[in-house]
Symmetry: C2
Subunit: 265 residues, 2 copies
């Protein structure tokens, strides 16, 4: 298997750095090829702006998605972005690793998404009209590949549980798992989360590392989260609302978009 | 009233730019003072890294929250960050305005949060032990102030409805409203959202602008989202889980953290 690990922590000597090395060593021990995009080390540019699209003249209004479409079509995206496209197309599996900062990814990783997810590559793929709303949510450029998150938190697992004050971790990560990974076609594995990492001791680290190694060993076989495909018949088009006969009409929230009847677990 | 508007769109001549101007004009017409942090215009630095803490020696392991605490305590945060603190303390009301990119804020605004939300300012405030878990979620440095989001989306309102494929907009914005604004003490107003803005015509813009002006006129009187205070008795400490006698035990998701019985609407 070919694995791309996108790493978003500023300190290589951190717990995140140590876990990254654990993951890479285990993947390589299993015979997989691993490439890493180390965003801080590579001084990744986080902000989508006009300088990403040098062919736009100074007096033209900058419309990010229009500029992205034009640059993708004419193959004039910047080299840092096309290098990531090449890696994403090369990899069978994508791993995003980051510390949870303010309940989501650090800015530098959001900037990787904002800039790498070009129009024509990650969105704006496939036909788009009132009866077909593009190849997305289960289809798209990255269909057939797997993706998962490796996340660390300072807070306790209980704080991120079903009734924890932060909100459930699976709901906090839904906009990433569903909105960023499933959207362009990835099968999304359940995330690996290490909680309470600020005060972890050696025994605690050994446990977390072994849990992570196990996830790396089962990367190819772990059942993905059974999100509903947009074009699989579960949604009305063009309103893109879940069919009224699916799930209780009163139900709401992110969990509706997971088809638990089709789940392996 | 004193209003700080943090603006995160790269093009002043955009719909976002026009809506910002509508909001500012209406606020000023009402006699309010307005200051703007225009993140792109100010070339805001998005990435938390070692250069934010020049007093850390090169051979010291960089721990972001520890470094943030030390810099806040010794008043050695960088000038761009302390300037934002001054504005946040000055303002009665904070508005964050941004286009929804990949279901959350653009990287540059996340970078504003990651860097401005220093330890001792936005978190790590108040006592912290096994019976009291800090002044947060309804208490903290910014308690008594109001905050709201102004958000634009390309997608349709139906796509962000209770059963829409993207997930409900209030759930997508929960990590921001609850995790970023309510956390350091803000009373959080319901967001202003303009949908389907890519194809908006003049009449559509006039409608959106009028809706926004109305929200600006009622900024001081709109009831906030009735989130449950962490230290108000609704949560067990230190597990920070919602008390078992509140809400049905089977219920879950972000909506649990809103006390609808106490709501004005």
């Amino acid at each position: 298997m070919k694995v791309l690990l996108v790493f978003a922590h500023p300190e290589p000597r951190s717990l995140n750095g140590a876990l990254r090395d654990v993951a890479i060593r285990e993947l390589e021990a299993q015979g997989h090829e691993v490439r890493v995009s180390d965003l801080y080390a590579e001084k990744w540019k986080s902000e989508v702006d006009r300088s990403d699209f040098p062919s736009i003249s100074a007096d033209t209004q900058f419309k990010p998605s229009r500029a992205s479409k034009a640059a993708f079509t004419t193959d004039t995206l910047t080299q840092d972005v096309t290098a990531e496209h090449e890696k994403l197309l090369w990899a069978d599996t994508l791993i995003l690793q980051f510390p949870l900062w303010w309940y989501t990814m650090p800015a530098i990783l959001k900037g990787w998404v904002d800039r790498v997810y070009a129009y024509g590559f990650a969105y704006g793929v496939g036909e788009h009209n009132d009866t077909y709303w593009g190849d997305r949510f289960g289809e798209g450029t990255l269909k057939g590949k797997r993706a998962m998150l490796i996340v660390t938190t300072g807070g306790w697992q209980e704080h991120y549980s079903a009734r924890g004050v932060n909100g459930p971790i699976e709901d906090l990560l839904f906009p990433i798992n569903h909105g960023i990974l499933y959207y362009p076609g990835y099968d999304v594995l359940p995330p690996f989360v290490a909680y309470r990492v600020d005060r972890i001791d050696q025994a605690g680290f050994a446990d977390v590392a072994e849990r992570l190694r196990e996830r790396m060993r089962t990367l190819a076989t772990t059942p993905p989260i059974p999100y509903r495909q947009q074009n699989g018949g579960d949604y009305l088009i063009p309103s893109l609302q879940l069919r009224p006969d699916l799930v209780n009409p009163g139900d709401r929230g992110f969990a509706l978009h997971v088809n638990r009847q089709g789940a392996a677990e």
